[in-house]
């Protein structure tokens, strides 16, 4: 078993067993989505039109929720020191942690999306489009969030600060995620091009996220 596999399995195990975490994120997603109609009214035609946007907003906010534990848990219990000393590339270790975090917190959001799409009366293609765009887009959110988690790792009460730091950076993902979903449903753009940009954003954050986060943590050493 390689070092990174060991890290991935430990994080997934700890996240599943600890209780809280992932289920609370899903519950938050469910609640945000439920609250929207109370604000805009129960008009199904309207909800159907803005449904993809609402689902994307809900998933975005829910995926921010657990970010403060992504690195802070390892910082608090001293594991991060040992990870730094291990001789494994810090970038890869952070990428692995982000991946485990995505699997335990964002993937459940993607899985539940088709169910929530029913609340907005989205038809099957629309529901599939939102789910696929979230599947492709949420890794970018987690990896951008990794930077925020690294910047605030040593701070108490870094949770709120992470959201403030990260939300502006997620705007492109939101734009192209919603655009790709809408393109699949009504047009006028073809599904392809915004979706390609979304993929590009995810791939770019795959490199930028861990690199910037590792830089932030190394700088934090003083």
């Amino acid at each position: 078993m390689t070092a990174l596999t060991a890290l991935f399995l430990r994080d997934v195990r700890a996240a599943i067993r600890a209780g809280g975490g992932a289920p609370v994120g899903v519950l938050f997603f469910l609640l945000v989505v439920t609250l929207m109609p109370f604000a805009v009214g129960p008009d199904l035609a309207l909800l159907q039109r803005i449904g993809p946007a609402l689902l994307w907003l809900g998933a975005l906010l829910a995926s921010l929720l657990a970010l403060d534990r992504l690195l802070a848990a390892d910082y608090d219990d001293g594991s991060l020191d040992l990870i730094l000393m291990s001789g494994n590339a810090l970038e890869l270790a952070l990428l692995t942690k982000a991946l485990a975090h995505w699997v335990t917190t964002s993937l459940p959001l993607v899985v539940i999306t088709p169910l929530l799409a029913l609340f907005f009366n989205l038809d099957l293609p629309a529901s599939a489009a939102v789910t696929v765009t979230l599947l492709v887009g949420t890794p970018a959110l987690t990896l951008i969030g990794l930077i925020g988690a690294a910047l605030t790792v040593a701070l108490r009460r870094g949770g709120l600060l992470i959201s403030v730091l990260i939300l502006p950076l997620t705007i492109p993902v939101l734009i192209f995620g919603v655009a790709a979903s809408n393109a699949a449903i009504v047009g006028p753009l073809p599904f392809g091009s915004p979706f390609m940009v979304l993929c590009a954003l995810s791939l770019a954050s795959l490199v930028i996220g861990p690199a910037a986060a590792a830089l932030a943590i190394r700088q934090g050493l003083e």
Binding site: M1, T2, A3, T5, A6, L7, L9, R10, R13, A14, R17, A18, D76, D77, G78, S79, D81, L82, I83, L84, M85, S86, G87, N88, L221, E222
Partner: protein, 199 residues
Amino acid sequence: MTLFASGLICMRGGREVFSGVDFSLVAGHALAVTGPNGAGKSSLLRIIAGLLRPAGGSFGLQGGDPERSVGEEAHYLGHQDALKASLSVRENLDFWIGFLRGQGDAREALAATGLDTIAGLPAFCLSAGQRRRLSLARLVAIRRPVWLLDEPTAALDQNAQGMLRRLMQDHLSGGGLIVAATHAPLGIEVQELALGAAA
């Protein structure tokens, strides 16, 4: 193998914690870092571990693998135990063996630290002393020549301190090095480095 430091300076928050720290430690020997609170004992260990950047001076490991930093050759036992509460004793140790690419035998290390009978229990059941012993099991299971121990006797009872003494002696006689920040005597033969008094 020799661990050396010359003219180390440590600054924290714009304040000079210590300066001009020199030592040289030959394989098979232990260094006890002593001094009052705030003298920079923990900071010195973290500098050697590579977790803190020194403001000046140099340190290194002569005779070690030139490809590896001192940190990669060292075990660091800090104030935290680096355990996940929901994982079992065995899973915690197995993770570190896998992640630090140790060749060690988890079962032997748990037996050496007296944790083999509770290897299946989740870590949140453990007392502070047992958590500390589980951290020590990591040092036993994965062979690295330098041990950096920050208050290693903390939370350990008389028996466990005896165990720690034996582990340290075994490590030294196997050609290892130990740098320990401590208030209490370790019970092994040590060189002493007093911080704070000189500054």
